[in-house]
């Protein structure tokens, strides 16, 4: 009986095969792009995927098709490839800004429902059509299909781009008092450049943020341990490398009449056009100047968000966490008229290896 049973179990195990997911027999989509299509209510989808020449070498190929929904686009594309499409290794999804202005959730829903799609993948908005972006120079920069995701990832880790991915988009989208943001890319010199951030109201893009504002935004958005800030006045120019930045909220005059965002920044000078940066009082002066400039920038950013009536930083969420029986509808209604202040405190710990 036992032998019979174990034999049966073995048979059963061989029956649940998954042969269609062998790497050589599928089309492994690495990036997906969505554009508007001239026909009404249609979208155009572009994918890039590797084709294997022999065991070691492969080439990236791209393919486009149009349809009414993302699912239809996928089905159309599937009709154009010899091996079935799989999105398990998808790492970037791009949307052109035209389509983003009309809302992207409908498209994202297809990806959100697919258990094969991870949450650590990157989403981004492109200034040009995604087809144009995805088809540039695939053989050199994007030889392994990881170019777009690596581009965003390294800028998040070592530069001023805030940490954003599919999960953070969904998190903010489903939040009561927060709006999503995504990286904003554009075509430049046969490559792709991060131009800043695309701002969303729910799932519709309503504006952008330039790259010069990225650092100020990132310090307001999250705690960070990397980034660089370019500052200048009439007399000098300089660069502050951020070593540590921590944000905390002060909420005054409950119920939520005034909010102060306190940011403590620690950094070191890596560029300074005047040579005598070693003296303590000079450093103090620079610190005050940077503070003033950052305060102004932060204030400008908040003003912009209030004017657009969006809350990408999630100020509302912070107020909610400190208010009992929080009324998020009332908050969202009053948001654009609220008194929100930004207060930076900058400390320069080192000034590079030269005095």
């Amino acid at each position: 009986m036992k032998k019979f049973l174990s034999l049966l179990v073995c048979l059963l195990l061989t029956a649940c095969n998954t042969e269609k997911e062998v790497l050589d027999d599928i089309t492994m989509v690495r990036s997906f792009g969505f554009d508007k299509y001239p026909k009404k209510n249609h979208i155009n989808g572009t994918i890039i995927y590797p084709i294997y020449i022999d065991e070691q070498t492969f080439k990236m190929r791209d393919l486009s098709a149009a349809g009414e929904t993302a699912k239809e686009v996928r089905a159309e594309l599937n009709e154009m490839v010899s091996k079935p499409l799989f999105v398990g290794k998808l790492n970037t999804v791009l949307f052109s800004q035209e389509i983003a202005k009309e809302g992207i959730m409908e498209t994202l829903d297809m990806l959100q429902r697919d258990p094969g799609v991870g949450r650590a993948i990157y989403l981004a908005i492109t200034k040009e059509s995604t087809k144009e972006i995805l088809t540039i120079d695939n053989n050199l920069a994007n030889h392994d299909g990881n170019f777009y995701s690596s581009l965003i990832k390294q800028n998040e880790n070592y530069s001023n781009l805030p940490h954003l991915n599919f999960h953070t988009f969904l998190y903010a989208y489903f939040s009561d008092c927060m709006d999503p943001i995504l990286p904003y890319l554009s075509h430049r010199n046969n490559s792709v450049k991060i131009k800043g951030l695309a701002l969303f109201k729910k799932d519709k893009m309503v504006g952008t943020l330039g790259e010069e504002d990225l650092l100020a935004f990132k310090t307001l958005y999250q705690n960070l341990n990397e980034g660089s800030y370019q500052f200048s006045s009439q007399k000098y120019k300089g660069n502050l490398e951020i070593l540590k930045s921590r944000i905390h909220y002060t909420i005054l005059a409950k119920p939520h009449h005034r909010v102060i965002l306190n940011v403590n920044v620690k950094g070191r000078l890596t560029e300074y056009t005047k040579v005598n940066a070693g003296k303590p009082n000079v450093i103090k002066g620079i610190e005050r100047n940077i503070e003033k400039e950052l305060n102004r920038e932060g204030y400008k950013l908040i003003g912009k968000f209030q004017k657009l009536n969006i809350d990408p930083i999630g100020i509302g969420e912070h107020v909610r966490s400190r208010t009992r029986a929080f009324d998020h509808k009332g908050w969202n209604k009053n948001y654009s008229g609220l008194d929100i202040k930004v207060k930076y405190q900058v400390k320069i710990t080192e000034s590079g290896i030269s005095q």
Binding site: A15, A120, S175, H318, R320, S321, R324
Partner: protein, 368 residues
């Protein structure tokens, strides 16, 4: 058929008993089931950021119930079936004990069907229910047929093989937002009670002790380990709840069927891009021990009441366990099955066991 068997306390040979410390693995193994993949959503529906309080309350209440169970069992010696006989007499105890046997079996069915649903949704959309159910039931039959010591061994095995999954909560907590846990205590009493009621389903599993108590070598010492086991379960649930609450925004959480599986989507290791598939696969082990304990206790019950050999009783029960999941074809039905068993379990733990406890206080204990 000798219906008087449960009149006398069960006799278990010394060699068939288990060391008292091993009850720890049995308690943890039977409490943690597929519920851990999704319970946070159900509590968070009522109390959002305060869900973790409910987990603590649930955990504490379980300790009280566990203490009551040990009090009853220590005083009257023997198992639930014997206690029923002592308290209610031969004919009244029969339907009560049968209900328990039925309940034990249904808990197994619920776990199996819920897990199959997860597999169907995440890994193999087209897989027929019966294939997976056959695989599990065959293995369970094999384990249970070997007796209780083997079941305990499997419980230990399962614990060691799956406890590392707790550490995967590191990733969602790292990406999480602490402010999602604030403000504390922001809801009405009614909401907390509702949440508590749904929480109980995840804590079910200690009631199996009623059946395997005679197998413990030193029941008085085992009590400590049973409590440590229940505390471990609470700890694991606590971690799951905190990570889920921090990682998802409240409305996002309500849109997910299996939040824990969704959390695993962010886990990316250098050698492994997608962790959730490993997670689901390993969960088969968790399901296995739940099934083994459920099948063992229900067959043990049949043995105790109807005096049918346990080895024979397993066969029809296994067939039931194998066949029933097939009839629950949709998400809706599976959810309903979970709700019913959750409600039943709630009254079982918080009404029936206290009732037994009160009766046992009034009755004279067994002379040993």
């Amino acid at each position: 058929m000798n219906l008087n068997k449960s009149k006398s306390p069960p006799f278990v040979h010394k060699n068939a008993r288990i060391a008292h410390k091993l009850v720890y693995f049995l308690i943890v193994g039977s409490q943690i089931g597929v519920g851990v993949l999704g319970f946070v959503r159900y509590i968070a529906k009522y109390v959002r950021q305060d869900s973790w309080i409910i987990v603590i309350l649930g955990g504490l209440s379980i300790h009280i119930i566990l203490w009551m169970m040990f009090k009853i069992l220590n005083k009257h010696g023997g198992d639930l079936f014997n206690i029923h006989h002592q308290f209610f007499g031969k004919w009244l105890s029969l339907p009560l004990s049968s209900l328990f046997i039925f309940y034990y079996l249904v808990t197994g069915i619920v776990i199996l069907r819920t897990y199959i649903e997860a597999v169907q949704n995440w890994m193999f959309p087209g897989i027929p229910i019966w294939t997976l159910s056959f695989f599990f039931v065959a293995l369970t039959y094999y384990i249970v047929g070997k007796g209780f010591r083997v079941v305990t061994g499997i419980a230990y095995f399962c614990f060691v093989l799956t406890i590392w999954m707790t550490f995967t909560h590191y990733f969602p907590i790292r990406y999480g937002h602490f402010i999602n846990l604030l403000p504390v205590l922001d809801f009405g009493l009614k909401d907390y009670f509702q949440a508590f009621k749904v929480m109980v389903l995840s804590f079910l599993g200690i009631e199996y002790l009623f059946a395997y108590y005679p197998y413990l070598e030193n029941p008085k010492k085992a009590q400590k380990w049973a409590h440590i086991g229940a505390a471990t379960t609470t700890g694991i649930y606590m971690l799951t709840t905190l990570s889920t609450l921090m990682y998802f925004s409240p409305k996002q959480l309500q849109g997910l069927t299996w939040p824990t599986l969704q959390e695993w989507k962010i886990v990316t290791l250098p050698i492994l891009e997608r962790f959730e598939y490993v997670g689901i696969a390993f969960f088969a082990i968790v399901v296995l021990i739940n099934l083994a304990i459920a099948l063992w206790t229900s067959s043990r019950g049949i043995n105790r009441i109807f005096d049918i050999k346990q080895r024979i009783a397993i066969i029809p029960l296994s067939i039931l366990l194998f066949a029933t999941p097939v009839f629950f074809t949709t998400r809706f039905k599976v959810d309903e099955l979970n709700n019913i068993i959750g409600k039943f379990g709630f009254y079982l733990l918080y009404a029936y066991i206290p009732l037994l406890f009160i009766i046992s206080l009034l009755k004279k204990g067994e002379k040993t």
